[in-house]
């Protein structure tokens, strides 16, 4: 079969000593920038682009890819330990991962994240190898109407993200949607809610908002009561997941992998959406939904698998169409062009060693990451024993450098400060920041695609139900809505809510 000879060529290419070395460099760097909150893969890859001039095209792309998925591993570390998502896609991991850490289960949470990521990475790498080309065809069937309907499913499901009152969850989603409106209207060019500040013309930076509402808010809360910190430090025990933990992570990891692989193919924030979607699903089908937000294992295992799977499959549109699904992929396109490779559908046919070499290197890189990360867990957990008055200024410094490095925009730092304060107020009001972030991610996509679909259909709203994929998605949204408001479920929800109070 072709696939085997292709994979053999890929592993032959990826396993050359030179490429193994660059793969290792890539995943090491990726882990490092992932761990440092705010400093993301985008900035790192941009900085390293000039160096790749000197390398073979395949080595440079293997290294850059390694940075990207390495960062997905590393990003969960700070999310779990200090509630500071190192990467935007690990924002969801922070919800339950940090709660696990507060209960002294940081080691278990980190192992679960690493193992789940490895499994998802392995499976999705093979998915990329086998289905890259047919999957592209499906992705191309997604037009504006389909995206809009997909976003509706996301929004409707997001109510499940919150534990607590539906009203508060809805309020947070709406606030997120409104924040997502900040910036230039892409259809008319009118600036909206920018307060006349040109630095916000392209909208608020997601990393800045996430670091603010999760990380800075948490620092403020910790500084307020030194007691919670001491609890956190003293209870660190049991680095490894128990047999029971393993049993409970299997389902979420499998589902997370499927969700992540599917959403990763779609352009625009696939990995973040995948993590949110997986969390929603796990919470929905769990027999103990009240555990979510309090340190549920499924709430770590699912989203972590999903974001890693999404990170791998987001290479599909890049490799098969030459179309970047996110800013990191755009940089990879730049790297290819600089190397004299024209990205497009011909890459697989004209440069088989490059195409399959990158795919094979992803699996090798994932193996390296899990080998690298598991022994480090003990070290990471020790970090928690550093006195907080030493730790928090360091965290703040790295966050600031990281957020600034994304766009060299000082207004992003003001946004961090502002959203740190907002996050703190929200915690006090017992409002969840997660639905807010989801609204913030989905809002602009929802609007952009709604309006594009309407322009394309010349103002005919039936376009959403006459296009089959869109219609199916809307039906799913309706089903979710019915389930949420079904009397029996509603009663159960309220019961859960009361337990928490």
């Amino acid at each position: 079969m072709d696939l085997f000879s292709n994979l053999a060529l890929g592993f032959y290419t990826a396993a050359s000593p030179e490429n193994l070395f660059f793969c290792l460099v890539g995943v090491l760097l990726g882990t490092l920038v992932g761990v440092l909150p705010g400093i993301g893969a985008t900035a790192t890859i941009a900085m390293l682009l000039p160096i790749t001039f000197q390398l073979e095209p395949v080595s440079s792309l293997i290294m850059l890819a390694g940075i990207y998925y390495g960062a997905q591993y590393g990003g969960s570390t700070t999310a779990i330990l200090i509630n500071m998502p190192g990467e935007s896609s690990s924002a969801v991991t922070a919800i339950d991962g940090y709660q696990m850490a507060r209960r002294g289960r940081a080691g278990a949470a980190l192992s679960i994240a690493a193992l789940g990521s490895f499994f998802a990475g392995t499976v999705s790498t093979f998915l990329v190898a086998i289905f890259a080309i047919p999957l592209t065809v499906i992705a191309l069937k997604f037009g504006a109407a389909e995206y809009f309907s997909l976003m509706i499913v996301g929004l409707v499901s997001s109510v499940a993200l919150a534990h607590g009152s539906i009203v508060k969850a809805l309020a947070m989603v709406v606030l997120g949607l409104l924040l997502g409106l900040v910036g230039t209207d892409i259809y008319t060019g009118a600036p909206r809610f920018t307060l006349g500040i040109r630095e916000y013309a392209d909208g608020l930076n997601f990393v800045a908002v996430a670091v603010g509402v999760f990380g800075v808010a948490e620092i403020l809360r910790n500084l307020e009561g030194e007691k919670t910190r001491t609890v956190l430090m003293s209870k660190v025990s049991g680095l490894w997941p128990t047999r029971e933990d393993f049993k409970r992570m299997v389902g979420p990891v499998l589902r997370g992998t499927v969700i992540g692989s599917a959403l990763g193919i779609l352009p625009g924030g696939g990995a973040i959406l995948a993590a949110f979607a997986s969390y929603t699903v796990e919470k929905r089908i769990s027999d103990k939904p009240q555990e979510f937000g309090q340190g549920a294992i499924a709430g770590v295992a699912g989203p972590e698998s999903a974001n890693n799977a999404g990170a791998q499959t987001s290479f599909i549109p890049l490799l098969t169409l030459g179309i970047p699904a996110n800013p990191v992929m755009a940089l990879m396109v730049g790297a290819m062009i600089i190397q004299g490779i024209v990205p497009g559908p011909n890459v697989a046919a004209e440069q088989p060693a490059l195409f399959w070499g990158i795919i094979a290197s992803m699996w090798i890189g994932n193996l390296m990451l899990v080998v690298l990360n598991l022994p480090l867990i003990g070290l990471w957990v020790k970090l928690l024993t550093i006195p907080y008055y030493v730790l928090f200024p360091i965290i703040m410094a790295f966050c600031s450098i990281g957020v600034y490095s994304v766009n060299s925009n000082v207004y992003d730092l003001y946004a961090v400060a502002f959203f740190g304060f907002v996050g703190y107020v929200l915690v006090k009001l017992r409002c969840e920041p997660a639905p807010l972030l989801l609204g913030f991610v989905l809002g602009p996509l929802l609007e952009e695609n709604l309006r594009r679909a309407m322009i394309l259909s010349r103002g005919d709203p039936t376009t959403f139900v006459t296009r089959p994929i869109s219609a199916i998605l809307l039906l799913i949204a309706l089903a979710v809505l019915v389930v949420v408001f079904l009397p029996s479920v509603k009663a159960k929800r309220e019961e859960v809510f009361q337990e928490e109070d």
Binding site: P50, Y187, R198, L321, L456
Partner: protein
């Protein structure tokens, strides 16, 4: 930014003393220019065509200048943010801008208020490359050339839409110019960049698009998209078989260009040094090879020629923007 404000305030406070110092300081500064790294501000996101051109050149210019030329992406407001940063930077040649047709001709015409004046607030260094735009369609569209496309658009006005990388971009204006010169109707669908627009074009969600030639070239070569025509006056060397729009609509011409600019009042000898480095980099055979693969035409120029080029571009686009009634805030 903050540093610059401080400098300005400092200048005001210290009055003539500091101004004289700066003036006296500049010749010696130029003699051993550059003695530290130079920041090349790219006003667009990393990975795009302007970014790629910048990185290829920055590498070669570093070799010649003996100091690193660091690319800094300051994306936002259609390029205005980065351009404005350079317009306000210290005029010492250590902060320069990769300007484009957007930052130096279109944005100032389209926007109700621009923070800078493209002619007065910059010192031109050198024109670098011209990049053709291209009219591409999904292969399922029956039109095989520009004439057939025009026939199609005239037969069913209001049926077709075209995609571009965004509102007010050179590609949007290429489309508007096409519509007004040919007297046809097409709805404009703006996207956030070429990538998502191409995605919809490949999926035939939209069937017509104006794109940068480099970003579509892979698809044109593989046949997943059909190039009807390039927008330049001459055919593109990388695609000699693709005709020009002007062959069907005489006088039609648009293209994207990249050029280096320094802040206003940069000393002439510093500009000359940068100009020499830029032109030397452009003459490098390896750069020439990359640019050709990239479908960019190397131009190179003196600072004066770039100044004249900006004037000519503004003069050329003013009536087009006015007739297309594109005004953004």
């Amino acid at each position: 930014m903050t540093k610059l404000h401080l400098t300005r305030r400092g200048t005001l406070a210290a009055g003539f003393a500091l101004a004289t110092m700066l003036a006296a300081g500049s010749p010696s500064l130029a003699a051993d220019f550059p003695d530290r790294q130079i920041t090349l501000v790219v006003p667009f996101a990393a990975g795009g065509s302007t970014d790629v051109v910048s990185r290829i050149l920055a590498q070669k210019m570093s070799d010649d200048l003996g100091q690193q030329v660091i690319v800094q992406n300051v994306a936002g407001a259609g390029g205005n943010l980065g351009a404005d940063n350079v317009a306000r930077a210290d005029p010492d040649g250590y902060t320069i801008l990769m300007g484009t047709v957007a930052t130096h001709a279109l944005n100032p015409l389209i926007l109700k208020s621009t923070p800078y004046d493209p002619q007065k607030d910059f010192t031109p260094i050198s024109l670098l490359v011209l990049v053709p735009n291209v009219l591409v369609v999904n292969p399922e569209l029956p039109a095989k050339d520009v004439a057939e496309l025009l026939a199609l658009l005239k037969a069913e006005p209001g049926k077709y839409s075209y995609a571009s990388s965004g509102n007010g971009t050179p590609l949007h204006l290429s489309g508007e110019l096409f519509k007004s010169m040919a007297g046809v109707e097409m709805e404009h669908i703006p996207y956030k960049g070429s990538g998502p627009a191409l995605n919809d074009l490949l999926g035939n969600q939209v069937s017509i698009m104006f794109d940068n030639l480099p970003s579509s070239s892979g698809h044109i070569k593989s046949g997943t998209l059909r190039a009807l025509a390039v927008t330049t006056k001459e055919r593109a060397p990388s695609f000699p078989e693709v005709p020009t729009i002007a062959e069907t609509i005489p006088g039609y011409e648009t293209y994207t260009w990249n050029a280096l600019f320094a802040p206003p009042g940069t000393p002439a000898d510093v500009v000359a040094r940068l100009n020499a480095a830029a032109n030397k980099a452009l003459a490098d055979p390896a750069v020439g090879e990359r640019m050709k693969e990239f479908s960019a035409t190397i131009v190179g120029s003196t600072p004066e020629e770039l100044g004249a080029h900006v004037d000519a571009e503004i003069a050329k686009w003013t009536p087009i923007v006015r007739d297309a009634k594109i005004q953004l805030e």
